[in-house]
């Protein structure tokens, strides 16, 4: 047998004083880490396959389990870290591209944490959201350019399609295929209850979910999976995905083994075949081409639905967004480099793209400078982790935010970053029937509603503190933000002052 160069990443610590050998850990681990040995009358572990998803820890009825990083480490080296060495071993063994899932875990700056919010004192009183009206409803789409009045004094304006959000938070694109049917249903039900939207991702819309159409954003991506007239008509808006924050510049690949009957039917591809989304849209090589697709989709849906164009935050994102705004799109969605994914090449995920905070500030400033900010709404995603991040994003200029990792966490995800293995123990990123079953939409939808409701309360609290009583008054209000520990260049890009100024 060949030598295994790599060590297990984790250690399973089992407190034998507590373990009652109920074997729940064994039954719940799709990676087959735990096993009951009848001869020894003992639970034993094979840690090599443990991904630290914490499923066993959460279900252990006597709290007998702990998963810890493996203490066995290679000789310390600041340049050749344990992970770097492991990756070399892995590639030397497989000869393949390294794959990873979920967002970039590297220790790169998180600008949200370097931005502080203002609060009112003395001269402008704060507002108590429990006693006074406070509005978090917002609208996405083109803002009317002007109102004309006829001779009878009746107002006339061009009505363009828009989305009405009760909270400035939407669930971002996750395809049926990358996540399970139950996960999709949970998102759909939660979005409906919250008065917001979820996004089909590029995997089409399962026939059971057409009933949630009023709260669905239907995505059209480079693979065009599941796209037909009925699909476009089903949703409240259509999103053209040009790029994704986790893997800008590359497409997607759902392996054939995940293409079961249901996914094959929804994506309209043969069962068992790989679903490969090309890196580019083969019909889009310019803003004019993008405009053609935007207009084609509008034409196909009788000009009744707003069109979103989603781009990844890359170096010249402001110029790209300016082009997108001129393409006729109603909403621009920008996805930052910390955004999640079901699978991406590790090098791309960890090294490509820019932080969403800088991209958002740059895009908002550019669109305002060019006088076209009202032509589009801006939605940002890519690791919006809390209500504070939402408030900061809106103050930097966003109209609303997209959340996905936080939504997955609400459903049970523990960020083990193993979605690409298809063995999600939480029933989210898997198509294995026995695992999908683990996510009961009754529970997950309620948890999603709880999360967004809680954030909504917090947004109101923070806005109230600033003396602001609506999202509209917070939007682009960068005077409410101050930077700490940032360079002048960073402050200039963010368009904010340093704390104390």
């Amino acid at each position: 047998m060949a030598i295994e160069f790599m060590n297990p990443l984790f250690e399973v610590i089992r407190d034998s004083d507590r373990c009652i050998k109920c074997r729940v850990c064994e039954r719940q681990c799709a990676n087959e880490v735990h096993k009951y040995d009848a001869d020894l009358d003992k639970m034993i572990s094979n840690e090599m396959t443990c991904v630290d998803c914490q499923r066993c820890v959460c279900l252990c009825p006597t709290h007998a389990l702990k998963i810890r990083p493996n203490e066995n480490q290679f000789r310390e080296n600041a340049n050749w870290t344990h992970q770097t060495m492991d990756e070399v071993y892995k590639q030397a063994g497989s000869g393949g591209v390294l794959l990873s899932a979920m967002g970039n875990p590297k220790d790169l700056p998180v600008y949200w944490d370097r931005i502080l919010l203002n609060a009112s004192q003395v001269t402008n009183p704060p507002i108590d959201p429990l006693r006074e009206p406070m509005e978090t409803k917002t609208f996405l789409g083109k803002k009317n350019q002007g109102i004309t009045y006829d001779e009878n004094g009746k107002a006339h304006y061009d009505k363009t399609p828009y989305l009405e959000l009760d909270v400035p938070i939407m669930f971002s694109a996750m395809s049926f295929g990358s996540i399970s049917k139950n996960a999709h249903e949970s998102l759909a039900r939660a979005a409906t209850e919250l008065g917001t939207f979820y996004n089909t991702g590029e995997g089409g819309l399962h026939r059971d979910f057409y009933k949630y159409g009023a709260n669905t954003i239907c995505q059209v991506a480079s693979g065009r999976f599941g796209v037909f007239k009925g699909y476009l008509d089903a949703g409240a808006a259509i999103e053209i995905k040009m790029g994704q924050g986790a893997k800008p510049g590359i497409g997607g690949h759902l392996p054939g083994m995940k293409i079961n009957d249901e996914i094959s039917r929804t994506r309209m591809i043969p069962k068992g075949t790989d679903a490969i989304s090309p890196a580019p849209h083969h019909d889009i090589y310019s803003i004019e081409d993008l405009r053609q697709l935007v207009i084609s989709l509008k034409e196909a849906t009788n000009w009744e639905k707003p069109i979103i164009v989603k781009i990844a935050a890359v170096h010249n994102v402001a110029a790209i967004a300016s082009g997108v705004a001129r393409s006729g799109a109603d909403i621009i969605a920008i996805d930052g480099f910390r955004g999640g994914t079901g699978a991406a090449p590790t090098r791309i995920r960890d090294n490509v793209g820019i932080p969403i905070e800088l991209a958002l500030a740059a895009v908002d400033s550019r669109l305002r400078d060019e006088g076209i900010r009202n032509d589009v709404s801006v939605v940002v995603g890519g690791s919006v982790r809390s209500a504070a991040d939402v408030v900061k994003a809106i103050a930097l200029g966003a109209d609303a935010v997209y959340i996905a990792t936080s939504a997955l966490l609400a459903m049970g995800c523990h960020l083990c970053r193993s979605c690409n293995t298809g063995k999600c123990n939480w029933g989210i990123a898997t198509q294995r029937a026995d695992l999908v079953k683990r996510l009961n939409p009754d529970i997950a939808a309620e948890r999603l509603v709880n999360l967004v409701t809680a954030w909504d309360h917090e947004i109101k609290e923070m806005m109230g503190g600033m003396g602001i009583n609506s999202i509209e008054a917070l939007r682009g209000n960068r005077l409410m933000l101050r930077g700490v520990g940032l360079t002048q260049k960073e402050l200039d890009i963010l368009g904010i002052q340093h704390a104390g100024e």
Partner: protein, 144 residues
Amino acid sequence: MKKVYVNEDWCLACHLCEFYCAAANSGAPDMVKAFKSGKKPVPRIQVEEGSDVNFAVQCRHCDGKACVKGCITGALSIKDGVVVCDESRCVGCYTCVLSCPFGCIVIDEEGHRIQKCDLCTKNHDGEPACVQGCPNKAIVFEER
């Protein structure tokens, strides 16, 4: 009246209900003590496993035509709709074990008497232990 029902769509066959049931009825203050001191307590709920479908089964609290009528000592009776066993009167003849069409009456850990689900009326407040312990709402306690 409220009863325990199962939804096989969500049963993962994790068997946690069995352990929560056994511990709750053992009289021990916590699960570790229940299973680590003396004989292992026997659950009154059992998970039936199939290849695709799993579900937990415990007393349906039906009209008791089989077990209550068959009981030779009058240990089994129906109180407020719940089929209960007066363990002091049970002689361990197991007539009820044989006659229950759902296989829901089990022999206790000592092997002398029967025990069965009483919806945790003797040991738990509110929801029965199996319902509280189910991680996926596959077991519910509700009016139907």
